[in-house]
Symmetry: C2
Subunit: 477 residues, 2 copies
């Protein structure tokens, strides 16, 4: 793995695909727009899953599994939904050697089939709320694809809940948005802006779509998770009705929300550098790699024994690997693990062994600045502290980067300049025409209308009308 | 959940589907042959996954993810494979509104697409072995379906490994078979017979298929997991070649192996009774339910406080639920949790509270025989011991049941009688004609040729020829 990736400054897009492949996260599949998630990439996804799943379960959600195939007629029942998803469908027309009477859609998302099941399961207010999540694969026939960010098939979780009142459903939608933020900030070390989508960017069939938006290393935005208040749209389409406490028949209020393998792409783009990946310790499949340094066979045996003691002191709390491969120089190994983004390297050489110490080298601080020598006696605490520091520092660095590249343009001209180099918070009147003009002339879109707004009003950055909210404009993935 | 299931003795098949639905494990989906795995059933599957995944990882396997869609031409590359799977394929012919140039098969199993990727990844003996597993959904267009046992779509793990030598690949195949046995015996409390499949029952494309076979409550056999030595069949079909240590180009040797959601069906059928499910403690989503018993509101508050203390003493080591629902009698709750198969119930009444004790009631021993009174002070140890005892007893009971219903017929007539009422171990000459005759005349098939055989020879139970091995004949799911 001595080969170098294309530098970020030369070609960010090539840097991204180089890193994904050279760090062994994923490979292209022999099917249009699909990828293979390789073991290292999948281990990262498993940690993302675990971090989210734990939070869902702690807030009363349960997992279930619904069919991959959806009758074509289901998709057509919610007017906006069919409009949004029709162009992206993969359709099964043959099963068991015979043409099917009704074609089956490979799920692009599961509101419809889950709505159908909920209508069977819900009769009374006592059957509510239903708080179900599903970990699954979905398929959307995308025109342009990119590893992890946009693939024909991807993995995700999709939560689908049903409630007796609109208030409760909205509360759920925001609870999940906060879980997504908490995961992004604390596990992925990615600062996000919580906000609601404009009408034009809303999920097909939603009343309100909420999102977390993150800034990537090239200053573009990435939608990293969405949470939708669906009102009674799907309840009406699929007849999810219940008898309330006054014995009145009511339609339920539903929500849906999802985070996908796209999150892996976000982690790569937010933290990586020209040496490759940098993984936040909480998500890293390998948090610490021990690289032993020896000159000859006699020394090798003794160093490996010493390294084994260090390993034993750290396990099982720390996820680590002792790289005892022969035939590779320490320098080669350093590069290899840097490419894979292992947050902390422990160097163990003859001098260290003599002095009962080891060298900790931070992935996020290359060179001498990131090296510390610690006595073996206190290595466990030192490593755990260092991993916590790296986790925090990665977040702070990403936050500072976003702040540096965030602008508050007051004029249309300033907006156009701002979106070419970062995020632009600007007054927006709420008119789709103003939004469309920006998109057409700059390719930037409204990423969200942030939930946390300073009070006040100001002139719309496009039309000048008095506006009550700022929107975040940016070019996006 | 006061409704009763159809008794096993009246109609085993209806009993099975009644239990699945009334214990809330699964529901029928609006797509032919598909099911919805409900939260309680999915929690059971999550525990099965965890038990297997832990064992795979402990033996050096890693998870990855390969595409759902397989180009149609891939399926056709291995002659036996295409013959076996062609009749069962679901085919995507339309994507993004357009007819596809090459139709895509929804994976029925992934040897082909994974073989294609391995041919890209493997160049040298240093790239071997590859020890990858995948948790995924697969689709087989089955004619007759049954909840969990045979559904059009099902969930499973499929391991796919590649090795430099045949010996190593065979060793892997048997390592996995032993993992499957270990999981079945120790987690699912299901005794299994390890053996190899006859040629007619072999996986399409395998050289040797190994299996674990279990006896269900109606004395039929269920194939609960398979592990296949694929020889070089898929390596040749997909060109998985490597330079060996002598710089010679060689085809790799591959294996594949899988356990599916069918395992849930096995757990239901092996342990359940006329009151519903009985779950082995290691897999039970809820291991213990605390049912408080009160007469009035004043007592209710005090009992709930006491029950809360019991709960606190047991968590988090024990997965438990305190059933504090109002408006349901204790007896109704007992039935409800019995239907769901919770292994241990803790009853907490006013008298128990006074005497600082609780009553433990075993799900697998209905009535007084299964009740024990234990002091609150020692409740944690008592509960953990009891769960371990239940786990062991369930296994012993299943083993005794299988032994009681296993026969060793020496004549063809005795074989025909034996397969009507259980498993038949009988000498078999290895001739497919003898096997076919049994199948045609009794519907029983050779489940496996057990790996553990008493030495010796005997006359084939069908044709009388000298035979070196016994086969297990049984009617099967």
């Amino acid at each position: 793995m001595a080969t170098k990736v294309t530098p970020r400054s030369v070609d960010y897009s090539r840097w991204y695909t180089d890193v994904i492949q050279m760090a062994d996260l994923a490979d292209y599949a022999p099917v249009r727009g699909c990828m293979v998630i390789k073991p290292y990439g999948y281990a990262l996804w498993e940690n993302i899953k675990e971090g989210l799943d734990r939070r869902f379960k702690a807030t009363g959600h349960v997992n279930a599994y619904f069919p991959l195939f959806i009758p074509y007629s289901f998709i057509q029942k919610e007017a906006e939904h069919v409009k949004g998803f029709s162009p992206e469908l993969a359709v099964v027309t043959v099963g068991g050697g015979e043409e099917l009477e009704e074609p089956l859609v490979v799920r692009p998302t599961s509101e419809t089939i889950i709505g159908y099941m909920y209508s069977k399961w819900v009769q009374s207010y006592r059957d509510l709320p239903i708080l179900i999540n599903q970990w699954a694969n979905v398929v959307r026939w995308e025109k342009r694809t990119r590893l992890f960010l946009r693939t024909t098939e991807f993995l995700w979780q999709e939560g689908h809940t049903a409630h007796a009142t609109a208030e409760e459903a909205i509360e759920e939608t925001l609870l999940i948005l906060n879980i997504y933020e908490d995961f992004a900030v604390n596990d992925a070390a990615i600062p996000v802006i919580k906000g609601r989508k404009s009408e034009s960017e809303r999920f097909a069939g939603a009343v309100t779509s909420y999102t977390i938006e993150a800034m990537m290393g090239d200053k573009r935005a990435l939608q990293a998770g969405t949470s939708h208040f669906l009102g009674q749209n799907f309840a009406r389409a699929f007849d999810i009705k219940f008898l309330d406490q006054n014995n009145q028949l009511q339609y339920a209020w539903t929500t849906s929300w999802g985070v996908s393998t796209r999150m892996v792409g976000a982690v790569v783009m937010v933290h990586g550098d020209d040496q490759g990946l940098i993984l936040p310790p909480k998500l890293a499949p390998i948090q610490v790699v021990i690289v032993p340094i020896w000159r000859d066979d006699e020394e090798r045996a003794r160093i490996l024994e010493f390294a084994g003691q260090v390993k034993a002191a750290l396990e099982p709390e720390v996820r680590l690997k002792l790289d005892d491969r022969e035939g590779f120089s320490p320098g080669w190994k350093f590069n290899d693990w840097e490419m894979r983004g292992v947050p902390l390297r422990i160097e163990v050489g003859p001098k260290d062994m003599e002095q009962e110490q080891v060298v900790l080298a931070r992935r996020d601080r290359p060179g001498k600045e990131g090296k510390t020598t610690v006595p073996v006696a206190g290595v466990k605490q030192a490593v755990q502290d260092m991993l916590a520091t790296i986790q925090t520092d990665l977040y702070r660095r990403a936050l500072a980067f976003r702040e540096e590249n965030t602008y508050y343009p007051e004029t249309y001209e300033a907006l156009c300049e701002a979106v070419a180099k970062g995020f632009a918070w600007a007054w927006w009147c709420g008119d789709a025409a103003c939004e469309a003009k920006v998109k057409e002339e700059t390719t930037a879109t409204i990423r969200c209308i942030p939930l946390d707004q300073e009070p006040g009003t100001g002139p719309c950055v496009v039309c000048g009308r008095e506006s009550r909210e700022r929107a975040v404009f940016a070019r996006a993935y």
